[in-house]
């Protein structure tokens, strides 16, 4: 599938964006684009809202660590679907170890947990994410397991991040931190 029309359309919609076709094995179903990291949010808004694109559905976000073979070491990979146009798209963004990237949760709220998972397992920070906490590992876990420089087998002492019996104040504080929607009236 030819991505040049898509690149042209996005370039006019998002001034300043750097786009390039990304060679992949599956471009017949999922065409792929490299996107400059600074423009990921406006590009995603354009993909969702522009006529003729309408990528309404979010599929997933994940990251790949190329350490030590490449700098910048990370790729963030976005998949999105246009259900009625029956097209898919993959966006890839290159990112260094300490660079944050804009969260796409304003575009597709479903990206929230995927970005938390990336934050947890790769240590990449998403700007604008309202609830960026660890998702899979416990909150006091050290390191980011899916990074290539994280050892495969680590021995750690068993630990609980919260005592089993907590005081009433601690319980309320935990709840306050865990609450999904902070703005609701009590």
């Amino acid at each position: 599938m030819d991505v040049q029309p898509l690149i042209d359309q996005l370039s006019t919609l998002v001034p300043g964006v750097v786009l390039a076709p990304a060679p992949s094995a599956d471009t017949d179903v999922t065409p792929a684009l490299w996107v400059s990291a600074a423009h990921i949010l406006p590009v995603c808004f354009a993909l969702r809202d522009a006529a003729g694109l309408e990528y309404l559905a979010f599929s997933n976000v994940t990251a790949v660590d190329y350490h030590p073979r490449r700098t910048p070491r990370f790729d963030i990979v976005y998949h999105m679907v246009s259900p009625h146009r029956r097209t898919r798209l993959r966006l890839k963004v290159q990112l260094g170890p300490d660079e944050p990237i804009a969260s796409v949760t304003p575009v597709w709220p479903g990206a929230g947990w995927c970005e938390r998972e990336i934050y947890d397992l790769f240590g990449i920070v998403f700007d604008g994410h309202t609830d960026l906490r660890r998702l899979m590992m416990t909150e006091d876990w050290e390191g980011h397991p899916l990074r290539k420089d994280y050892p495969v087998q680590v021995r750690k002492d068993a630990q609980t991040y919260m005592p089993l019996q907590v005081t009433a104040e601690e319980f309320r504080a935990n709840m306050e931190r865990d609450r999904y929607s902070r703005s609701r009236p009590r």
């Binding site: 179903v29 309404l56 790949v64 998949h79 679907v81 709220p109 995927c114 609450r179 999904y180 609701r184």
Partner: protein
């Protein structure tokens, strides 16, 4: 009031923890916590050879095991540039649809049981037992057959398998009617499920929900139809949908989907020749047949190489979407050209569903939480990976 539901709660399908804030019996907010079943499969997969990843990914979504291995195999085969023989494609379709029926039967039984219809659990597990026996016949394993491999199938279909499947397919529609007489028009069931846990189609797509959940909300997106893989474009089946997006419509959608799966299975059975290929001819991936191994030096070397070092996969990345029992599955694989994957990431429909849980239950009654979780059909192995 704050209620802590789970992680050990019979209706949370494993280890999902919900912190519910209640006003009387109305749910004001919900905060799901996951990760209790996180086993680092994606990290482990990076240490294994390509073929050894198959048993690992099957353990993610353990109720739809073979849909995981299908997703992984298709992505790796995309990287290798392999095209499967027609017979392999048809067998894979048959296996995938049997797995869908099996997964939906577990959903049907547990969902019914959680809302109080204990009988249907026993009924549904009776039919599922036959499917488990079919798996055992296929591969010796009941739960995780690892039958679908990169490059085709592990082995040819065993003797008597097609007859056994045909007997099952003949039996199932009648049994589905029997199940439906217990629930579909049951006034208690209707009261518990109609208008409960409603979601709109736009919300479904934004939150990354596909599959039966989106189709029950009026969508017509089915990966088998939209982005056909392994030959689904040649099969006749309807994409089942409903319009209200509540628990009842998700129930109706899944039950009707089982009937469609039976149709697909029957077509596949008709197409599968008694003898033929069960893997690709490409010797990079498929081990040579045993009689050649015993008689030819080259074949012996190749056999040894495949089983000791595995095979190299060209560098690149691929993602092939697959319609799993719970929605869009898919494996994003990255290769650096070696005999081990650089990265394996499974798109998890259950993660999306449990993330969007508050869309379904906030504003509803606490008793409906159980009905909603059941209707979303989350599998925690798939969520936590």
């Amino acid at each position: 009031m704050t209620v802590n539901m789970g992680p050990q709660h019979p209706s949370t399908h494993g280890v999902l923890r919900l912190v519910l804030e209640l006003d009387g019996e109305t749910v004001v907010s919900v905060s799901p916590t996951i990760g209790f079943l996180h086993t680092g499969i994606e990290k482990t997969a990076e240490q294994k050879k390509w073929q050894q990843v198959i048993p690992l990914v099957e353990r993610m979504d353990y109720l739809g095991a073979q849909s995981n291995s299908l997703a992984f195999s298709l992505s790796v085969e995309k990287l290798l540039g392999l095209e499967m023989p027609q017979r392999v494609k048809d067998i894979r379709v048959l296996i995938a649809e049997l797995q869908r029926i099996s997964s939906h039967l577990v959903w049907f039984g547990t969902h019914g049981m959680e809302i109080g219809a204990i009988t249907v659990m026993l009924y549904a597990f009776r039919e599922r037992e036959i499917l488990m026996n079919l798996n055992e016949m296929l591969a010796g394993f009941r739960f995780f057959p690892s039958y679908i491999r990169v490059g085709g199938l592990r082995d040819d279909l065993p003797r008597g398998f097609k007859e056994a499947v045909a007997a099952f397919l003949e039996r199932l529609p009648g049994k589905l009617d029997e199940y439906e007489t217990m629930l579909t028009k049951n006034p208690i069931w209707l009261d518990r499920t109609r208008g409960v846990g409603t979601i709109t189609l736009a919300d479904c797509y934004q939150w990354g929900l596909f599959g039966p959940i989106a189709r029950a909300a009026g969508g017509d997106f089915d990966v088998r139809r939209a982005f056909p893989y392994t030959g689904y474009e040649t099969y006749k089946f309807d994409v089942i949908g409903a319009s209200n997006g509540d628990v009842y419509d998700r129930y109706i959608t899944r039950v009707a989907e089982m009937r469609e799966s039976v149709k697909i299975c029957l077509q596949a059975l008709e197409r599968i020749d008694p003898v033929g290929d069960f893997q690709v001819a490409d010797r990079r991936v498929a081990p040579p047949p045993k009689d050649e191994v015993y008689t030819e030096m080259e074949a012996l070397i190749q056999h040894f190489l495949i089983y000791s070092q595995g095979f190299n996969v060209p560098a690149g990345d691929a993602y092939v979407p697959v319609e799993g029992p719970r929605g869009e599955h898919g494996c994003y694989v990255v290769s650096d050209g070696s005999n081990r994957p650089w990265r394996v990431h499974m798109r998890s429909p259950g993660l999306m569903a449990s993330q969007a849980l508050h869309k379904f239950i906030v504003g509803g009654m606490i008793a409906d939480v159980v009905a909603v979780i059941g209707s979303l059909d989350v599998v925690m192995g798939d969520v936590d990976r």
